[in-house]
């Protein structure tokens, strides 16, 4: 459980600190996987399979989200030629 928290924290750190949007995405995947680990561990602790079903759904949703997110990145790159999160800021005030 501590391991899951640690991995989640590493993922958050990655999202906050890196500039390259693709690496930010990979850090999001690490967070999602840390949560999956927590679910599986708790499910085994209680002897119930519900945790694994939830993990199944999380995996599916994460895969869909990765696909759409990467498509967005490709579209943005075509427009602005950069993957630096600091420069993709046209919606900022």
């Amino acid at each position: 459980m501590g391991l899951s928290a640690l991995l989640f924290a590493i993922g958050v750190f990655g999202v906050l600190v890196r500039r390259n949007v693709i690496v930010i995405f990979m850090a999001i995947e690490i967070m999602l996987n840390a949560v999956n680990l927590a679910f599986v561990a708790i499910a085994r602790h209680r002897g119930s399979m519900d945790g694994q079903v939830i993990v199944f759904f999380v995996m599916t949703v994460a895969a869909a989200e990765a696909a759409v997110g990467l498509a967005i990145i490709i579209a943005m790159f075509r427009n602005r030629e950069t993957t630096n999160a600091d420069e993709l800021s046209s919606l900022r005030w």
């Binding site: 600190v17 693709i22 690496v23 002897g47 995996m59 989200e65």
Partner: protein, 163 residues
Amino acid sequence: MSPVGFFVLAALAVASALGVVLNRNPVHGACALVAHLFLLAVFFVGLDAQLVGVLQVIVYAGAVVVLFLFVIMLLNLQADQRSMVSPPLVFAAAACVGALAVLISGGLREPEAAAGTALPQGYGETEELARLLFTRYALPFELTSLLLLVAIVGAVVLARKRG
């Protein structure tokens, strides 16, 4: 899982996660991500969740990271020179994240009394998961298929070239 095995695997998982987050070259980061996902799959199998572990390898390590690698190669990303935000911000982020980790692990502690329950027969096997998926969780299952359809259409539309 034996304690020694757990600690070795845990150390490797943390190392590969740090490798993803701290690496300058995105391709190296993606390789570290594959290693991390594979190690987590080993964890899942060790926690008696065999089907979920194998699915993790097929879906995550086998498809999602390949997608990442495709995009990295398509956009021809090289190693960044200034890959992280300025050092004071890094320090602040590390401090906040450390506090977050402590809070989460405090909140996730399970009562020790439930540690000894025996696992039901067929735990973690495909049949049990399938039974739950098609009876209790049938509605989320159908909704997830709709979500996947929307994601596929969305990804194709977004990545299409203009004209």
